[in-house]
Amino acid sequence: MTWISIIIAGILTYFTRMTMIALVDRDFLGDKIKAVLEYVPSAVFPAIIFPAIFINDYGAFIEMSDPKIFGAIVAIIVGYFSKNIIATILSGLISYWFLIFVIFS
C-alpha cells in the first residue's frame, strides 16, 4: 500500500513539474500572468524561508531571542554585500553555532 502511495505521489509530483512545460501552451497564459511571472522566486521562496526560521519542530512560534533569527539576519547582510551563496550559508550557520555553542551554552 505504501509503495502504491509513493508511486502515485511521484506521478503527481512529476505532473506538477511537467504540466506547464510540456502540456500548457504558453499563449494560453494571459499577458497579466506573464507580467507577474517575473516575481515567482520572490513570491515562492519566503514560504520556505519564514516557517523554517520562525516555527519550530513542534509547530510553535519561536521566541524573538532565538539564535535562528540572528543567523538569518547575518546571512541576509553577508549575502546582500558578498553576492556569494557559500558565504551566505556559512555566515548564517557559523553565527547560529556561535550563539548556541558559545553564548547560550
Binding site: 506538477t16 510540456a22 497579466k32 519564514f50 516555527i55 549575502g79 551566505t88
Partner: protein
Amino acid sequence: MLSKKQLFTKGMLDISPHMLSVIPFGIICGAIGVELGFNPYLVYAMSIIIFGGASQIVFLQLLSGGASSLVAVTSVGIINSRHLLYGAVLSEYLEKLSFIKKLLISYFVVDQGFSESNKFFKKNKTEQHLHYHLIGTGCTMWVCWQIATLSGIILGSFVPEELGLKFAIPLTFIAIVVQDLKKIDHVIVMITCGLSSLLFFDAPFKSYIIISPVIALFVASLISRLKK
C-alpha cells in the same frame, strides 16, 4: 555562443554552492525515514520516484503518525504544486524543445535548479541551447540528492543533531532571493509571502506553501499594474 557542454558545466557550477545545504538535508531525510521504521528500499525509492526534498519527509512523517495514504499523497501533491509556477516561468525558454525533451527535462526541475537556471536564462536569452544549463543544475541536484539520502539511509544520522543543519535550508533560499531585496516591489512581494506562510501555516495539507505564493503573486499583479 556557448556549446552544450559549456552550458551544462555552467549549470553544474551555478548550483553547486547550494549542495552545502542540500547534502546535509538529504542525509537527514534518509536517516529520518529509516528511524521512523520504514523499509530502507522504500525510503530510497522515494528519492528517485518523488525526488522532492521536504515532501519526502512529510510523506513518511504523516504515514508514521497514522494519517491515511490519501492525506499523505495529497500533501505531497500540494507541497510540490509550486513546481507549476517554476514550469510557467521556464516555459518561456523551453518552448522550442520537442515534446519528448520537455517531458524528460521536466523531471529535473527543482527549487535551486529553477532559480539558478532562471537567473542565467534572463541574462543569456540569445543562447541557442539554454536548456543544457537546466540539465546541468538538475543532474547535479539529482546525483547529490541520491548520494545524500542513500548515505543517510545506510549510515543513519551521522550528522550530529545538535548542529541544527536543517537551518541550512532557509539559508540556501535566502542566498537565492537576497539580491532582490534591492527592489522595493520584490521586497513587498517577499514580505507578503513570508507573513502569509506564517498565517496559514496550520492550513490543511501544508497548503501554506502554495496559498502564500498565490497571495504574493496577486499583490505582485497589483504592483505591476501600478507601475504602468
